[in-house]
Assembly symmetry: C2
């Protein structure tokens, strides 16, 4: 794998001097075009210590316009990072459309280092590489250009370089004990890194191995490759445009119109008196559980989905009194802000992942992708089709980190929905909730039912199951929602029955 990067590639000074001005102009011109584009660029600079990672990153900062790029290095996690899934820190560091993010150290650093020092097994490493691959694929599918450089040095070259750095007082500080240790581990490092690169080098997302010994060769190679990839991607952006243009309005194709929603018994109801008793009981129970969760640092996320007017707000208002407002937040998912629009569609959900011990309720959620966006043709068929896997991956990360994830679908029939729309129109401070669109959406009921069916089928997992709640009777629905939340929280706190995704993922 690394042999081609041990051939002693070098570029003469005169050639370098001749090539650089043109390359810089080209890079700057491309960067200008990028500013108007609808995708971000991620440049990973990884590799062997001493192969010039720092110098390469600094060079890119010099050659490109530093106002539209940002370099991210990842040291030890901050406490705010430790309280979220591993990838939260990388989601925080994603560049918006038109910008370049340069990564020194990345989602590969820890897995490789952990395997090198025997903190994880081969199987764990592979699981984590699979995560890295999924992350990049998701970004690339969304249009991002991801370029992965691996700067390589032979063992001999690495030793010579470290010795040279150490000998110069100006650079001696760069040589850490970790570098010396890595040199000792060179052969093992090479094997682990080689495995990691092979596992994560795909057609779209190849690793580019660059011989690091000669700075001029390294700089020209990295710069040219960056320019070439950027140009190709920018030229292809027009083609990708049709992706969003090729809108596809879903139509149910099944001959059998039955869906998983037909299994919900909408006749279920709760008399007022029983409701009042159950409400107090479950609010108290939730209150106790949430205090234990706060003490133990267990976070929870409640996803509320359901038909318009199915009673999401009413459920939120019944959850609120049971929780300490200081540890609780409701995120209403409405139109994205322009910062959110300039990122992957999951970015806006990642940014609200609660700190340890806190609860976030999403009033509508990431499932918009496979519901309203699918049915209304707001994304392409390819986009919503691949979303099932992306959403599952997202939820694996949440639950893998120990977050309790409760997903509720509130089900009502069309007659009940119409009745509620009309009722809302009578109440001054509810009237704004009902728009023409609500009525229009009602007419697409069959399409939505089909979408809900697919959603439950494809994203209902052991660790993040869907609970379908009969909500024609509001009282019944509220108690069911509270009960479900309590049960899931209890299972997690008692550590007994809480399913987690397969190990090694978090």
């Amino acid at each position: 794998m690394f042999e081609v990067a041990e051939l002693g590639h070098a570029v003469a000074k005169a050639e370098y001097k001749a090539r650089v001005p043109e390359l810089r102009t080209r890079l700057l011109t491309l960067q200008q075009r990028l500013l108007e584009a609808d995708f971000p660029v991620l440049v990973l600079v990884s590799g062997v210590d001493g192969a010039g990672k720092g110098a390469t990153v600094n060079l890119l900062n010099e050659w490109l316009d530093p106002r539209h790029l940002r370099t991210y290095a990842f040291g030890p996690k901050s406490d705010e990072e430790r309280e979220r899934p591993d990838f939260w820190r990388f989601w925080r560091a994603l560049p918006p459309h038109g910008h370049i993010g340069i990564y020194v150290g990345s989602w590969y650093s820890d897995p490789i280092a952990d395997r090198l020092h025997d903190r994880i097994s081969d199987a764990d490493l592979d699981a984590r590489l699979q995560q890295a691959r999924a992350f990049e694929k998701m970004l690339a599918d969304d249009g991002a250009l991801v370029i992965k450089f691996w700067l390589h040095l032979s063992r001999t070259a690495q030793k010579e370089r470290l010795d040279a750095l150490a000998a110069d007082p100006e650079t001696a500080w760069r040589v850490t004990r970790r570098d010396r240790e890595h040199l000792k581990l060179y052969d093992r490092f090479r094997a682990v890194a080689g495995h990691a690169l092979r596992e994560t080098s795909t057609g779209d997302l190849p690793w580019v191995i660059v011989e690091g010994a000669d700075p001029r060769y390294r700089h020209l190679t990295v710069g040219r490759h960056l320019a070439d990839r950027l140009e190709t991607h920018l030229d292809g952006a027009g083609a990708r445009q049709t992706r969003a243009g090729s809108k596809h309005i879903a139509t149910p194709t099944e001959s059998d119109p039955r869906t998983v929603l037909d299994t919900v018994d909408l006749s279920r109801s709760l008399p007022k008196k029983a409701y009042k008793a159950a409400l107090t009981e479950h609010q108290n129970r939730l209150s106790r559980l949430s205090r234990r969760a706060a003490e133990r640092g267990v976070s929870s996320i409640v996803v509320l989905e359901g038909w318009d007017a199915a009673g999401k707000g009413g459920i939120i208002r019944r959850i609120v009194p049971a929780l300490d407002a200081r540890h609780f937040q409701v995120i209403q998912v409405a139109a994205p802000t322009d910062e959110e629009r300039a990122h992957h569609y999951l970015w806006r959900f990642w940014r609200h992942i609660p700190r340890a011990g806190n609860t976030t309720v999403y009033d509508r959620s990431w499932y918009g992708r496979v519901l309203v966006e699918r049915v209304e043709g707001l994304c392409s068929e390819a986009e919503w089709l691949r979303a099932y896997a992306e959403l599952d991956d997202f939820e694996r990360q949440l639950t893998g980190h120990g977050i309790v994830l409760v997903k509720l679908w509130l089900h009502i029939d069309p007659d009940e929905q119409l009745r509620r729309f009309q009722e809302r129109e009578q109440v001054p401070w509810k009237r704004h909730k009902i728009t023409e669109e609500d009525y229009r959406n009602r007419e697409k009921r069959a399409l939505y039912e089909h979408a809900v069916n697919d959603m439950v089928e494809r994203t209902g997992t052991e660790y993040a199951p869907w609970t379908l709640i009969a909500a024609n009777d509001k009282r019944h629905a509220r108690i069911e929602a509270l009960k479900t939340f309590c049960e899931r929280l209890e299972a997690a706190l008692d550590g007994a029955a809480q399913p987690r995704p397969s190990p090694g993922l978090e």
Copy 2:
């Protein structure tokens, strides 16, 4: 001060039940109106322990629509917070326009607790209260509605309440050792808090003292006051609109057209050879200094202001090679995003304050307020006039935290500027930089000179001085900029001559 809140105010159950539905409807209706408004609401819930702060916050979450409000509690600082000025955590927690932020614990908690436990002196307390007042005033001046509740309990009532909480297993967890200690310190706490409240109760930003002993009285009082203030503010919003409408285009009124810029000797220049030597010298110097700064956790911020085409980009490109890209970021200040627009104008700058040991270069900055926004009438006269104090306050917080703040104004004369505009139009990848607007701005030179003069006069302080750089000769300007940065960093690292704002502010 607190006597009126020890009268045993109480509300009978029947009256409470009769009043609440109307009050809730009113609050929800007002909150709906607020969603469309161009200001945020901050509700501080402070007071004596056991006076029902938690219950009040939970109640507001119940009565209001929790999707448009968020509760913020401030425990020990996270490490990311510790690395920034004290108020950074509060800036992070500011609600956008149309939303409500509820604060349990706030910028008052630490100052009062610190004085109570003799960690700071009376003078320190007053300095910190002054900071709190300035923060609120700044928000209020920008249109925010700030409501400050102080829930009070007499000593007897506090003791009774804590005992009652402790006796009930459902609530015993709420009584902490800190609460018991505070009870012992009641008289002293009352005196310190009373002082704090008096010092920070202004006409626009009064403290509302609410007797906390009877929950029904407390709830109705808080709810009604919130509704009244919200209604008044919403009704007044039309009046405030004229604030932005009353645009005032600045005109120089002085009979003497000379400004501080006339003191800059634009004939200064540097021959190419001397420049090359000086560049290497100062880049090496900056490189060494920035490494020391990174080790010691000293952050720096470079503010680059100057005429269009004065050479800001060129200076950034000369700073870049001296710094480690991993600890360095350039923020280009262009049009704000919609999230930024929904906050105070300084919010977008606070969000980029570097972590410990890092450097941020602002390519244009918060001074836009008193330069382009003033001259082009993008803000009202009142807004830019009060900005001098706001900017000074901001910079006091930065420098008070130990951040090295370097402010550079790059000066060129109109002929040189014109020459550079024309030159840029010849270069393909620079052409986009020159627009009609640049030429238009040129015609307002006198107005801008006047604005720069005022800016330097009013915001050039010992701890955050302006350096005016003669930039007709690019080489001279680049070396001056590097030298200034080096000198300021060196002074800070040697701990000798680095001026700080008066103590107690950070």
